[in-house]
Protein backbone atom coordinates (compact mmCIF):
# COMPACT_ATOMS: atom_id res chain seq x y z
CA UNK A 1 0.00 0.00 0.00
CA UNK A 2 1.23 3.48 -0.72
CA UNK A 3 0.38 6.70 1.05
CA UNK A 4 -0.59 10.03 -0.51
CA UNK A 5 2.48 12.22 -0.47
CA UNK A 6 1.26 14.69 2.07
CA UNK A 7 0.58 11.98 4.70
CA UNK A 8 3.58 11.03 6.85
CA UNK A 9 3.98 7.29 7.53
CA UNK A 10 3.59 7.72 11.27
CA UNK A 11 0.01 8.83 10.66
CA UNK A 12 -0.75 5.52 9.01
CA UNK A 13 0.93 3.67 11.86
CA UNK A 14 -0.95 5.74 14.39
CA UNK A 15 -4.22 4.85 12.66
CA UNK A 16 -3.40 1.15 12.47
CA UNK A 17 -2.49 1.00 16.16
CA UNK A 18 -5.59 2.97 17.07
CA UNK A 19 -7.90 0.71 15.08
CA UNK A 20 -6.47 -2.58 16.29
CA UNK A 21 -7.89 -3.88 19.56
CA UNK A 22 -4.82 -6.12 20.04
CA UNK A 23 -1.08 -5.34 19.85
CA UNK A 24 0.30 -5.26 16.30
CA UNK A 25 3.69 -6.89 15.55
CA UNK A 26 6.26 -4.68 13.83
CA UNK A 27 6.36 -7.11 10.88
CA UNK A 28 2.68 -6.54 10.15
CA UNK A 29 3.11 -2.78 10.22
CA UNK A 30 6.11 -3.09 7.93
CA UNK A 31 4.23 -5.29 5.48
CA UNK A 32 1.26 -2.93 5.35
CA UNK A 33 3.36 0.02 4.26
CA UNK A 34 6.22 -1.70 2.45
CA UNK A 35 8.57 -0.33 5.06
CA UNK A 36 11.58 -2.03 6.56
CA UNK A 37 11.39 -3.04 10.20
CA UNK A 38 13.96 -0.37 10.92
CA UNK A 39 11.80 2.29 9.29
CA UNK A 40 8.78 1.14 11.30
CA UNK A 41 10.78 1.53 14.49
CA UNK A 42 11.81 5.03 13.45
CA UNK A 43 8.22 6.02 12.65
CA UNK A 44 7.05 4.64 15.97
CA UNK A 45 9.72 6.64 17.73
CA UNK A 46 8.47 9.76 15.94
CA UNK A 47 4.89 8.90 16.86
CA UNK A 48 5.95 8.44 20.47
CA UNK A 49 7.53 11.88 20.53
CA UNK A 50 4.38 13.42 19.05
CA UNK A 51 2.24 11.70 21.67
CA UNK A 52 4.45 12.64 24.61
CA UNK A 53 2.11 15.32 25.92
CA UNK A 54 -1.12 13.51 25.14
CA UNK A 55 -3.38 11.07 26.96
CA UNK A 56 -2.32 8.18 24.76
CA UNK A 57 0.95 6.34 24.45
CA UNK A 58 2.48 3.68 22.25
CA UNK A 59 3.89 0.74 24.18
CA UNK A 60 5.66 -2.43 23.16
CA UNK A 61 3.69 -5.33 24.61
CA UNK A 62 4.62 -8.98 24.08
CA UNK A 63 6.88 -7.99 21.18
CA UNK A 64 4.13 -6.02 19.42
CA UNK A 65 2.96 -2.40 19.47
CA UNK A 66 -0.15 -1.15 21.15
CA UNK A 67 -1.72 2.25 21.56
CA UNK A 68 -3.04 2.63 25.07
CA UNK A 69 -4.45 5.27 27.35
CA UNK A 70 -1.93 6.51 29.90
CA UNK A 71 -2.18 4.99 33.35
CA UNK A 72 -2.21 8.46 34.92
CA UNK A 73 -5.65 9.14 33.45
CA UNK A 74 -7.03 5.71 34.30
CA UNK A 75 -9.67 6.99 36.77
CA UNK A 76 -11.25 9.06 34.00
CA UNK A 77 -11.22 6.22 31.51
CA UNK A 78 -12.66 3.86 34.10
CA UNK A 79 -15.45 6.26 34.84
CA UNK A 80 -16.44 6.43 31.19
CA UNK A 81 -16.12 2.67 30.67
CA UNK A 82 -17.87 2.09 34.02
CA UNK A 83 -15.17 -0.25 35.20
CA UNK A 84 -16.20 -1.53 38.61
CA UNK A 85 -13.69 -4.04 39.96
CA UNK A 86 -10.71 -5.06 37.99
CA UNK A 87 -9.81 -8.71 38.30
CA UNK A 88 -6.37 -8.88 39.80
CA UNK A 89 -4.34 -11.94 40.60
CA UNK A 90 -4.17 -13.11 44.19
CA UNK A 91 -0.99 -13.10 46.25
CA UNK A 92 -0.49 -16.83 45.84
CA UNK A 93 -1.13 -16.67 42.12
CA UNK A 94 1.46 -13.91 41.76
CA UNK A 95 3.93 -15.86 43.84
CA UNK A 96 3.59 -19.04 41.79
CA UNK A 97 3.59 -17.03 38.58
CA UNK A 98 6.83 -15.30 39.50
CA UNK A 99 8.46 -18.67 40.21
CA UNK A 100 7.32 -19.99 36.82
CA UNK A 101 8.40 -16.78 35.08
CA UNK A 102 11.91 -16.84 36.51
CA UNK A 103 12.59 -20.57 36.52
CA UNK A 104 10.89 -21.65 33.32
CA UNK A 105 10.81 -24.29 32.09
CA UNK A 106 9.92 -25.70 35.48
CA UNK A 107 8.29 -28.96 36.61
CA UNK A 108 5.69 -29.34 39.34
CA UNK A 109 8.17 -30.82 41.87
CA UNK A 110 10.63 -27.99 41.23
CA UNK A 111 7.84 -25.50 41.75
CA UNK A 112 6.87 -27.19 44.98
CA UNK A 113 10.48 -27.14 46.17
CA UNK A 114 10.80 -23.42 45.48
CA UNK A 115 7.68 -22.65 47.52
CA UNK A 116 8.10 -25.32 50.19
CA UNK A 117 4.49 -26.31 49.68
CA UNK A 118 2.28 -27.88 47.05
CA UNK A 119 1.23 -25.50 44.27
CA UNK A 120 -0.97 -27.72 42.10
CA UNK A 121 -4.20 -25.83 42.63
CA UNK A 122 -2.72 -22.43 41.91
CA UNK A 123 -0.88 -23.82 38.91
CA UNK A 124 -4.09 -25.15 37.38
CA UNK A 125 -5.76 -21.79 37.96
CA UNK A 126 -2.91 -20.11 36.09
CA UNK A 127 -3.23 -22.67 33.31
CA UNK A 128 -6.96 -21.91 33.07
CA UNK A 129 -6.21 -18.19 32.91
CA UNK A 130 -3.80 -18.93 30.07
CA UNK A 131 -0.98 -17.14 31.88
CA UNK A 132 1.02 -20.37 32.08
CA UNK A 133 1.23 -23.25 29.62
CA UNK A 134 2.93 -26.58 29.16
CA UNK A 135 6.21 -26.22 27.30
CA UNK A 136 7.26 -29.83 26.87
CA UNK A 137 8.53 -32.56 29.14
CA UNK A 138 11.65 -32.81 31.23
CA UNK A 139 14.16 -35.58 30.53
CA UNK A 140 13.68 -36.87 34.05
CA UNK A 141 12.14 -40.07 35.41
CA UNK A 142 8.46 -40.07 34.51
CA UNK A 143 9.06 -37.36 31.92
CA UNK A 144 7.17 -34.69 33.92
CA UNK A 145 5.56 -31.76 32.16
CA UNK A 146 7.42 -28.48 32.20
CA UNK A 147 5.66 -25.15 32.45
CA UNK A 148 6.39 -21.67 31.19
CA UNK A 149 4.66 -18.32 30.79
CA UNK A 150 2.48 -17.36 27.81
CA UNK A 151 2.16 -14.28 25.59
CA UNK A 152 -0.90 -13.33 27.60
CA UNK A 153 1.35 -13.21 30.66
CA UNK A 154 3.44 -10.53 28.95
CA UNK A 155 0.32 -8.67 27.84
CA UNK A 156 -1.27 -8.83 31.26
CA UNK A 157 1.75 -7.29 32.93
CA UNK A 158 2.49 -4.91 30.07
CA UNK A 159 5.90 -6.44 29.43
CA UNK A 160 7.58 -6.33 26.06
CA UNK A 161 9.35 -9.63 26.68
CA UNK A 162 10.76 -11.84 29.43
CA UNK A 163 13.91 -9.72 29.36
CA UNK A 164 11.84 -6.95 30.99
CA UNK A 165 11.74 -8.91 34.23
CA UNK A 166 14.20 -7.40 36.71
CA UNK A 167 17.22 -9.50 37.50
CA UNK A 168 16.73 -11.83 40.43
CA UNK A 169 19.76 -10.92 42.50
CA UNK A 170 20.92 -9.48 45.72
CA UNK A 171 21.83 -5.87 45.83
CA UNK A 172 25.31 -5.03 47.11
CA UNK A 173 24.23 -4.02 50.58
CA UNK A 174 22.79 -7.48 51.11
CA UNK A 175 26.15 -9.00 50.26
CA UNK A 176 27.93 -6.89 52.85
CA UNK A 177 25.49 -7.92 55.52
CA UNK A 178 26.01 -11.51 54.56
CA UNK A 179 29.75 -11.24 55.10
CA UNK A 180 29.19 -9.58 58.39
CA UNK A 181 26.98 -12.35 59.71
CA UNK A 182 29.43 -14.92 58.44
CA UNK A 183 32.08 -13.43 60.70
CA UNK A 184 29.64 -13.35 63.50
CA UNK A 185 28.97 -17.02 63.06
CA UNK A 186 32.67 -17.76 63.47
CA UNK A 187 32.62 -16.02 66.79
CA UNK A 188 29.72 -18.07 68.01
CA UNK A 189 30.73 -20.14 70.98
CA UNK A 190 30.47 -23.79 70.02
CA UNK A 191 28.25 -25.00 72.83
CA UNK A 192 25.82 -23.12 74.96
CA UNK A 193 23.92 -25.07 77.52
CA UNK A 194 20.87 -22.81 77.44
CA UNK A 195 20.61 -23.17 73.68
CA UNK A 196 21.08 -26.89 73.98
CA UNK A 197 18.31 -27.10 76.51
CA UNK A 198 16.02 -25.10 74.25
CA UNK A 199 16.83 -27.34 71.32
CA UNK A 200 15.99 -30.36 73.40
CA UNK A 201 12.69 -28.68 74.25
CA UNK A 202 12.07 -27.91 70.63
CA UNK A 203 12.51 -31.52 69.73
CA UNK A 204 10.85 -33.34 72.58
CA UNK A 205 8.88 -30.71 74.46
CA UNK A 206 5.30 -31.25 75.60
CA UNK A 207 3.99 -30.73 72.12
CA UNK A 208 0.63 -32.36 71.70
CA UNK A 209 0.06 -30.76 68.35
CA UNK A 210 3.32 -32.06 66.93
CA UNK A 211 2.60 -35.54 68.24
CA UNK A 212 -0.82 -35.42 66.68
CA UNK A 213 0.67 -34.25 63.41
CA UNK A 214 3.23 -37.03 63.36
CA UNK A 215 0.56 -39.59 64.16
CA UNK A 216 -1.53 -38.28 61.31
CA UNK A 217 1.35 -38.50 58.85
CA UNK A 218 2.20 -42.03 60.00
CA UNK A 219 -1.42 -43.01 59.54
CA UNK A 220 -1.42 -41.58 56.05
CA UNK A 221 1.75 -43.47 55.19
CA UNK A 222 0.17 -46.69 56.48
CA UNK A 223 -2.87 -46.14 54.33
CA UNK A 224 -0.75 -45.50 51.28
CA UNK A 225 1.45 -48.53 51.98
Amino acid sequence: MSLPENIPPEHAIEAMLFASPTPVPAEELAEAGNWSKREVEDYIERLRRQLCDRGLEVRKVAGAYSMLTRSEVAPFVERILQVQNKQRLSRVQLEVLSIVAYKQPITRPQLEAARGINADRTLSQLLDLDLVCQVGRAELPGRPFMFGTTELFLEHFGLSGLEDLPELAWDDSADELEEFSLEESLETPPIRSREMQQLADDISGPSTNLQRLLAKIRKKEDVEA
Binding site: A19, L89, R91, A114, R115, N118, P190, L199, I217
Partner: protein, 262 residues
Protein backbone atom coordinates in the same frame (compact mmCIF):
# COMPACT_ATOMS: atom_id res chain seq x y z
CA UNK B 1 -7.01 -17.64 60.69
CA UNK B 2 -8.54 -17.31 64.10
CA UNK B 3 -8.17 -19.73 66.95
CA UNK B 4 -9.47 -20.14 70.42
CA UNK B 5 -6.64 -20.92 72.82
CA UNK B 6 -7.30 -21.10 76.54
CA UNK B 7 -10.22 -18.80 76.08
CA UNK B 8 -8.13 -16.12 74.35
CA UNK B 9 -8.80 -15.27 70.78
CA UNK B 10 -5.54 -15.24 68.88
CA UNK B 11 -5.34 -13.59 65.52
CA UNK B 12 -2.97 -15.49 63.28
CA UNK B 13 -1.71 -14.09 60.03
CA UNK B 14 -2.13 -16.40 57.09
CA UNK B 15 0.99 -17.82 55.51
CA UNK B 16 1.40 -19.30 52.07
CA UNK B 17 3.62 -22.11 53.27
CA UNK B 18 6.52 -22.92 55.58
CA UNK B 19 9.00 -20.73 53.69
CA UNK B 20 6.58 -17.83 53.83
CA UNK B 21 6.23 -18.27 57.58
CA UNK B 22 9.95 -18.62 58.14
CA UNK B 23 10.71 -15.59 56.02
CA UNK B 24 8.26 -13.42 57.89
CA UNK B 25 9.70 -14.55 61.24
CA UNK B 26 13.20 -13.64 60.11
CA UNK B 27 12.08 -10.33 58.66
CA UNK B 28 10.09 -9.50 61.78
CA UNK B 29 13.17 -9.92 63.93
CA UNK B 30 15.01 -7.70 61.43
CA UNK B 31 17.67 -10.26 60.73
CA UNK B 32 19.31 -11.33 57.52
CA UNK B 33 18.79 -14.81 56.30
CA UNK B 34 21.66 -16.74 57.85
CA UNK B 35 21.95 -20.00 59.71
CA UNK B 36 22.17 -18.03 62.94
CA UNK B 37 18.99 -16.08 62.32
CA UNK B 38 17.12 -19.18 61.29
CA UNK B 39 18.12 -21.02 64.42
CA UNK B 40 17.10 -17.95 66.42
CA UNK B 41 13.54 -18.11 65.17
CA UNK B 42 13.16 -21.90 65.54
CA UNK B 43 11.24 -21.43 68.77
CA UNK B 44 8.78 -18.99 67.21
CA UNK B 45 8.37 -21.28 64.26
CA UNK B 46 7.42 -24.08 66.62
CA UNK B 47 4.95 -21.85 68.42
CA UNK B 48 3.23 -21.13 65.15
CA UNK B 49 3.18 -24.82 64.35
CA UNK B 50 1.39 -25.40 67.66
CA UNK B 51 -1.27 -22.89 66.69
CA UNK B 52 -1.59 -24.17 63.19
CA UNK B 53 -4.55 -26.34 64.04
CA UNK B 54 -6.17 -28.86 61.78
CA UNK B 55 -5.08 -28.44 58.22
CA UNK B 56 -4.71 -30.73 55.29
CA UNK B 57 -2.12 -33.36 56.16
CA UNK B 58 -0.07 -32.46 53.06
CA UNK B 59 0.16 -28.86 54.16
CA UNK B 60 0.92 -29.75 57.75
CA UNK B 61 3.71 -32.07 56.72
CA UNK B 62 5.34 -29.39 54.57
CA UNK B 63 5.48 -27.17 57.64
CA UNK B 64 6.81 -30.06 59.67
CA UNK B 65 9.50 -30.88 57.14
CA UNK B 66 10.89 -27.36 57.33
CA UNK B 67 10.73 -27.55 61.12
CA UNK B 68 12.86 -30.70 61.03
CA UNK B 69 15.35 -28.91 58.79
CA UNK B 70 15.45 -26.02 61.24
CA UNK B 71 16.19 -28.37 64.12
CA UNK B 72 18.88 -30.08 62.12
CA UNK B 73 20.45 -26.75 61.30
CA UNK B 74 20.25 -25.56 64.86
CA UNK B 75 21.79 -28.71 66.30
CA UNK B 76 24.61 -28.51 63.78
CA UNK B 77 25.34 -24.95 64.86
CA UNK B 78 25.47 -26.00 68.51
CA UNK B 79 27.94 -28.80 67.96
CA UNK B 80 31.64 -27.97 68.24
CA UNK B 81 33.30 -27.37 64.89
CA UNK B 82 35.48 -30.31 63.99
CA UNK B 83 39.20 -29.60 63.89
CA UNK B 84 40.20 -29.13 60.27
CA UNK B 85 42.65 -32.06 60.38
CA UNK B 86 40.15 -34.44 61.87
CA UNK B 87 37.50 -33.70 59.31
CA UNK B 88 38.36 -36.66 57.12
CA UNK B 89 38.40 -39.01 60.07
CA UNK B 90 34.91 -38.03 61.04
CA UNK B 91 33.59 -38.00 57.55
CA UNK B 92 32.74 -34.30 57.69
CA UNK B 93 32.91 -32.48 54.44
CA UNK B 94 32.19 -28.97 53.45
CA UNK B 95 29.63 -29.84 50.88
CA UNK B 96 27.07 -27.54 49.38
CA UNK B 97 23.77 -28.85 50.70
CA UNK B 98 20.99 -29.15 48.17
CA UNK B 99 18.39 -28.88 50.88
CA UNK B 100 20.20 -25.88 52.26
CA UNK B 101 17.44 -23.98 53.99
CA UNK B 102 19.33 -20.70 53.96
CA UNK B 103 19.81 -20.77 50.21
CA UNK B 104 16.21 -21.82 49.59
CA UNK B 105 14.86 -19.11 51.85
CA UNK B 106 17.00 -16.45 50.21
CA UNK B 107 15.75 -17.50 46.82
CA UNK B 108 12.20 -17.52 48.10
CA UNK B 109 12.67 -13.99 49.37
CA UNK B 110 13.86 -12.88 45.94
CA UNK B 111 10.90 -14.57 44.27
CA UNK B 112 8.54 -12.85 46.65
CA UNK B 113 10.08 -9.55 45.69
CA UNK B 114 9.58 -10.52 42.06
CA UNK B 115 5.94 -11.24 42.82
CA UNK B 116 5.59 -7.75 44.30
CA UNK B 117 7.21 -6.31 41.20
CA UNK B 118 4.72 -8.20 39.07
CA UNK B 119 1.81 -6.97 41.20
CA UNK B 120 2.95 -3.40 40.65
CA UNK B 121 3.20 -3.89 36.91
CA UNK B 122 -0.14 -5.63 36.81
CA UNK B 123 -1.71 -2.57 38.41
CA UNK B 124 -0.07 -0.20 35.93
CA UNK B 125 -0.85 -2.39 32.96
CA UNK B 126 -4.50 -2.73 33.95
CA UNK B 127 -4.70 1.06 34.16
CA UNK B 128 -3.85 1.38 30.45
CA UNK B 129 -6.79 0.77 28.17
CA UNK B 130 -6.66 -0.20 24.51
CA UNK B 131 -9.08 1.14 21.95
CA UNK B 132 -11.99 -1.26 22.33
CA UNK B 133 -13.41 -1.15 18.80
CA UNK B 134 -12.04 -2.77 15.72
CA UNK B 135 -14.04 -5.20 13.64
CA UNK B 136 -14.70 -7.77 16.28
CA UNK B 137 -15.56 -11.23 15.11
CA UNK B 138 -19.12 -12.28 15.85
CA UNK B 139 -19.03 -14.18 19.08
CA UNK B 140 -21.75 -16.68 18.24
CA UNK B 141 -23.47 -17.66 15.01
CA UNK B 142 -26.72 -16.77 16.78
CA UNK B 143 -26.03 -13.09 16.17
CA UNK B 144 -26.55 -13.62 12.46
CA UNK B 145 -29.74 -15.59 12.87
CA UNK B 146 -33.02 -14.09 11.80
CA UNK B 147 -36.13 -14.52 13.88
CA UNK B 148 -37.61 -16.69 11.16
CA UNK B 149 -34.78 -19.18 11.06
CA UNK B 150 -34.80 -19.30 14.84
CA UNK B 151 -38.51 -20.03 14.70
CA UNK B 152 -38.12 -22.83 12.19
CA UNK B 153 -35.21 -24.29 14.16
CA UNK B 154 -37.41 -24.30 17.24
CA UNK B 155 -40.16 -26.07 15.32
CA UNK B 156 -37.68 -28.70 14.13
CA UNK B 157 -36.55 -29.29 17.69
CA UNK B 158 -40.06 -29.51 19.04
CA UNK B 159 -41.16 -32.03 16.41
CA UNK B 160 -41.62 -35.37 18.17
CA UNK B 161 -38.86 -37.76 17.36
CA UNK B 162 -38.97 -41.46 17.02
CA UNK B 163 -38.10 -42.98 20.36
CA UNK B 164 -34.68 -44.42 20.72
CA UNK B 165 -34.82 -48.05 19.67
CA UNK B 166 -33.18 -50.78 21.65
CA UNK B 167 -31.12 -52.72 21.01
CA UNK B 168 -29.22 -50.67 18.47
CA UNK B 169 -29.46 -52.29 15.09
CA UNK B 170 -26.05 -52.62 13.51
CA UNK B 171 -27.14 -53.33 10.00
CA UNK B 172 -24.74 -53.40 7.17
CA UNK B 173 -25.28 -50.51 4.85
CA UNK B 174 -26.59 -51.97 1.64
CA UNK B 175 -26.13 -48.78 -0.29
CA UNK B 176 -22.79 -47.79 -1.75
CA UNK B 177 -21.81 -44.22 -2.54
CA UNK B 178 -21.70 -44.87 -6.34
CA UNK B 179 -25.22 -46.34 -6.18
CA UNK B 180 -26.43 -43.34 -4.25
CA UNK B 181 -24.76 -40.99 -6.74
CA UNK B 182 -26.86 -42.60 -9.43
CA UNK B 183 -30.08 -42.24 -7.43
CA UNK B 184 -29.38 -38.65 -6.49
CA UNK B 185 -28.54 -37.83 -10.07
CA UNK B 186 -31.90 -39.15 -11.22
CA UNK B 187 -33.75 -37.22 -8.54
CA UNK B 188 -31.93 -34.04 -9.55
CA UNK B 189 -32.67 -34.59 -13.26
CA UNK B 190 -36.35 -35.18 -12.51
CA UNK B 191 -36.52 -32.07 -10.41
CA UNK B 192 -34.88 -30.07 -13.18
CA UNK B 193 -37.36 -31.36 -15.73
CA UNK B 194 -40.13 -30.20 -13.40
CA UNK B 195 -38.54 -26.78 -13.50
CA UNK B 196 -36.84 -26.78 -10.12
CA UNK B 197 -33.15 -26.19 -10.56
CA UNK B 198 -32.15 -26.45 -6.90
CA UNK B 199 -32.95 -29.45 -4.76
CA UNK B 200 -32.83 -29.43 -0.99
CA UNK B 201 -31.03 -32.10 0.95
CA UNK B 202 -34.24 -32.99 2.78
CA UNK B 203 -35.93 -33.69 -0.56
CA UNK B 204 -33.24 -36.23 -1.36
CA UNK B 205 -34.09 -37.97 1.89
CA UNK B 206 -37.84 -37.87 1.30
CA UNK B 207 -38.49 -41.51 0.59
CA UNK B 208 -36.58 -42.77 3.63
CA UNK B 209 -36.96 -39.97 6.16
CA UNK B 210 -33.95 -38.28 7.74
CA UNK B 211 -33.87 -40.65 10.70
CA UNK B 212 -31.98 -43.05 8.50
CA UNK B 213 -28.55 -41.99 9.64
CA UNK B 214 -26.51 -44.24 7.35
CA UNK B 215 -28.47 -42.99 4.35
CA UNK B 216 -27.89 -39.39 5.39
CA UNK B 217 -24.17 -40.08 5.53
CA UNK B 218 -24.08 -41.91 2.21
CA UNK B 219 -26.13 -39.17 0.56
CA UNK B 220 -23.84 -36.49 1.90
CA UNK B 221 -20.78 -38.36 0.65
CA UNK B 222 -22.47 -38.84 -2.72
CA UNK B 223 -23.06 -35.09 -2.99
CA UNK B 224 -19.47 -34.35 -2.08
CA UNK B 225 -18.29 -36.86 -4.67
CA UNK B 226 -20.46 -35.27 -7.36
CA UNK B 227 -19.29 -31.82 -6.44
CA UNK B 228 -15.70 -32.98 -6.60
CA UNK B 229 -16.33 -34.23 -10.11
CA UNK B 230 -17.92 -30.93 -11.13
CA UNK B 231 -21.31 -32.50 -11.73
CA UNK B 232 -23.21 -30.42 -9.18
CA UNK B 233 -22.83 -27.24 -7.26
CA UNK B 234 -23.63 -27.12 -3.55
CA UNK B 235 -25.11 -24.20 -1.68
CA UNK B 236 -25.53 -23.49 1.97
CA UNK B 237 -27.20 -20.43 3.46
CA UNK B 238 -24.99 -19.71 6.40
CA UNK B 239 -23.77 -21.75 9.27
CA UNK B 240 -25.66 -25.04 9.74
CA UNK B 241 -28.11 -24.04 6.98
CA UNK B 242 -29.68 -26.67 4.80
CA UNK B 243 -27.59 -27.87 1.88
CA UNK B 244 -29.03 -27.41 -1.59
CA UNK B 245 -27.65 -28.77 -4.83
CA UNK B 246 -27.95 -27.94 -8.46
CA UNK B 247 -26.72 -29.72 -11.56
CA UNK B 248 -23.99 -27.74 -13.25
CA UNK B 249 -24.98 -26.54 -16.73
CA UNK B 250 -21.96 -28.15 -18.35
CA UNK B 251 -22.77 -31.49 -16.68
CA UNK B 252 -26.40 -31.68 -17.80
CA UNK B 253 -25.64 -33.81 -20.82
CA UNK B 254 -23.70 -36.20 -18.68
CA UNK B 255 -25.25 -39.65 -18.70
CA UNK B 256 -25.04 -42.20 -17.23
CA UNK B 257 -24.32 -40.60 -13.88
CA UNK B 258 -22.63 -43.65 -12.54
CA UNK B 259 -19.15 -42.83 -11.34
CA UNK B 260 -16.40 -45.24 -10.72
CA UNK B 261 -14.90 -44.78 -7.30
CA UNK B 262 -11.19 -44.56 -7.37
Amino acid sequence: MEQEIDGYKVQLPFFEGPLDLLLSLVEESELDITEISLSAVTGQYREYLELLGQLDVEIESSYLLVFAQLLELKSRLLLPEPEPDDSHLFGFEEEPDEDDLVARLREYQLLKRAALWLAEHEGQSLARYPHPSGLAEPETPLLHTSLRSLHSAALRCLKPRKPFKEPIDYRRIELSVPDRVEQVWQTLQQARQQGRSRTRFSELMKERGDDDRPLVVVTFLALLEMARRDRVELFQDGYLGEIECEIKPEARAFNPARVSMN
